[in-house]
């Protein structure tokens, strides 16, 4: 990946982060931490890797993305808005009455949402169903599901893994966002899902471990996943929860609350400075 592309993706990821802060600030709630940790991933998926057409969100041949960790909707909304699925200004309506931007993604409300999610562990099963539909139809679209590392404590996640592997759904790619934090503490303190890689290997997955803030590693992993035949892929991406906003980084308290005025100003200043630097370099 060349520097120009990296810088472009970096700009996009920063804009996604700005949207996350904007949305959760106006909502006075929401989940900034886990939205910020997937900003690079969303930038690569929506701006480089996935076969999509924002002008035709229901296009049958599109790649699908299921945000199984649905509470990090602010990140997804940011990516979708920036990609042109809906106006970016709508971000400030997050979680408000009559907004299309529900607290968790609603496929009936907002274009670009491929599956309604929010109850942890459920999205991944729907992604498996979509991948199965692709196999039945001999279609060439791919299905992505983003899971939290806390989310994989749900038993359903492993039911889904067993089935996906059994049916050799190589058109399915899971990305587990390993930011190591869940509401009640670090994931290993609460109820350790580790070792994550070994678990998915044992379930028959092609497992790729990456730094989830490295664009090149993300893109390469997604390409490797697409090239892998006969089994599904699980990308375990190590990330920092709250990434990009210094006072939110690795702070469990920023799992599920919105910034107040002072925090908002501070976060926006930091992100805008990052953005200015990146744009200056272009």
């Amino acid at each position: 990946m060349d520097d120009v592309k990296k810088r472009q993706l970096s700009i996009t990821a920063t804009k996604i982060r700005l949207a996350v802060i904007e949305g959760t600030y106006h909502a006075k709630s929401g989940h900034p931490g886990g939205s910020l940790s997937i900003a690079e991933l969303l930038a690569v998926l929506y701006f480089s890797h996935m076969r999509i057409d924002p002008s035709n969100p229901k296009w049958e041949r599109r790649d699908r993305l299921v945000l199984s960790k649905g509470h990090t909707a602010p990140g997804l909304y940011g990516a979708l808005a920036l990609r042109g699925y809906f106006p970016l200004e709508e971000i400030s309506t997050l979680r408000q009455i009559n907004s299309r931007l529900q607290g968790h993604p609603d496929m009936k409300a907002l274009p670009g949402i491929d599956m309604t999610t929010g109850s942890l562990g459920q999205g991944v099963s729907a992604a498996v169903g979509m991948a199965l539909a692709g196999k039945i139809d001999n279609a060439d679209y791919r299905v992505y599901a983003i899971l939290g590392d806390g989310e994989i404590e749900e038993g359903q996640v492993w039911e889904a893994a067993m089935f996906a592997s059994h049916k050799k759904l190589d058109n399915l790619c899971l990305i587990i966002d390993n930011n190591n934090l869940q509401i009640d503490g670090t994931v290993d303190e609460v109820c350790s899902p580790y070792p994550i890689c070994e678990k998915y290997k044992a379930f028959g997955f092609n497992v790729i471990k990456i730094d989830g803030h490295d664009f090149e590693q993300i893109e390469n992993a997604l390409k490797d996943a697409a090239a892998c035949k006969g089994r599904p892929t699980a990308i375990i991406q190590k990330t920092v929860k709250g990434k990009g906003v210094l006072f939110m980084e690795n702070e469990v308290g920023w799992h599920g609350k919105g910034p107040n005025q002072e925090e908002y100003d501070l976060a926006m200043k930091e992100l805008r400075e990052q953005l200015a630097k990146l744009e200056e370099a272009v």
């Binding site: 459920q122 099963s125 729907a126 992604a127």
Partner: protein, 316 residues
């Protein structure tokens, strides 16, 4: 007297799926290791490429059904009522109900007539659970003929549906000319003194109860409510106004099922006594299905007795 033909509604379900498989190339059937019992095994045999066994993992099965439906498939997902409505309730609610995806849940082995397997497998709460999900159609056919027609109607429905089938062979009370429509109750017998509103295998008991009452000079109306949601308010309110006393009958808890739905309707629109025949807020137990129905009072005799109580209340 001609011998009563008996057939389990689950058999009609399996047969109809096979027929629909020929008509709908996009029809996909899922099961979770109970294909022999739920009768989706018939579909598996006919269309192995469109049948998927999800293993003993009902929650995942419901999610897979949702994903398939989101990609345009017509999906039937089957397991026992206990695991479809019970174990996977939240998956049905959030992955199927909330996005209003056209998944049809074929839930078999409902109620105490499951028999020997006992309480853990005798689901008497499923109607209550399923009818609280917004947009969920809930259908509980009375016999094999109605079951077949309900499956055919459900496949055309652009939204989720819960179809409830039984294990036990039950009397076939309709013939092929019977016309089924989702959301429409059917008056099977005219009567003026009391209305018996029944669903599922209690419909044939309700008809027998009306005969018992007739011999005692009581004129009982009998109404079959296959679609518990959306419920046929019109036929229920008319029954309340014209007879002044109602008995409901179902192989389900007296809490939240047909009895609850009828009482809600009547209370709001035409208050009259509503007495409920059903499983009385207890768990089931092991035994032959037909005997358990008697043990739990799901009989024509009990319906007739309740009908007389309802009439007494009306006149008090």
């Amino acid at each position: 007297m001609a011998e009563v033909v008996k057939k389990a509604t689950r058999d009609a379900y399996g047969e109809t799926l096979v027929e629909l498989g020929a008509e709908y190339p996009d029809l996909v059937v899922l099961d979770s290791d109970l294909a022999g019992a739920t009768k989706t095994g018939m579909f598996r045999k006919a269309y192995p490429d469109r049948f998927f066994n999800c293993g003993i993992a009902e929650q995942n099965m419901m999610g897979i059904a949702a994903g398939l439906a989101a990609c345009g498939k017509k999906v039937f997902a089957s397991t026992f009522a206990m695991f479809a409505a019970g174990r996977a309730f939240e998956q049905v609610r959030n992955s199927i109900g909330y996005p209003h995806l056209p998944v049809k849940i074929g839930a078999t082995h409902a109620g105490v007539s499951v028999g020997e397997d006992g309480a853990t497998h005798q689901c008497c709460e499923d109607i209550a659970l399923m009818r609280t999900i917004p947009g969920m159609t809930v259908i509980n056919p009375a016999d094999a003929v109605e079951a077949a027609k309900a499956v055919r109607a459900a496949v055309k429905l652009d939204g989720p549906a819960y179809l409830r089938f039984g294990r036990l062979a039950v009397p076939v009370i309709f013939d092929d000319s019977y016309s089924f429509e989702i959301g429409k109750g059917v008056q099977l017998k005219e009567g003026r003194d009391v209305a018996i509103i029944a669903t599922g295998l209690l419909v044939s008991e309700a008809l027998d109860a009306a005969e018992l009452l007739k011999n005692q000079g009581i004129s009982a109306r009998v109404i079959n409510i296959a679609t518990i949601k959306p419920i046929d308010r019109e036929i229920i309110i008319a029954a309340a106004r014209e007879t002044g006393a109602i008995v409901t009958a179902e192989e389900h808890s007296i809490l939240g099922g047909l009895g609850g739905a009828v009482a809600e309707t009547v209370c709001e629109a035409a208050p009259v006594p509503v007495l409920r025949v059903g499983v009385e807020d207890v768990f089931g137990k092991s035994g032959p299905g037909a005997e358990l129905l008697k043990l739990f009072g799901l009989t024509a005799e009990n319906i007739a007795a309740k009908a007389k109580q309802a009439i007494a209340l009306k006149n008090s």
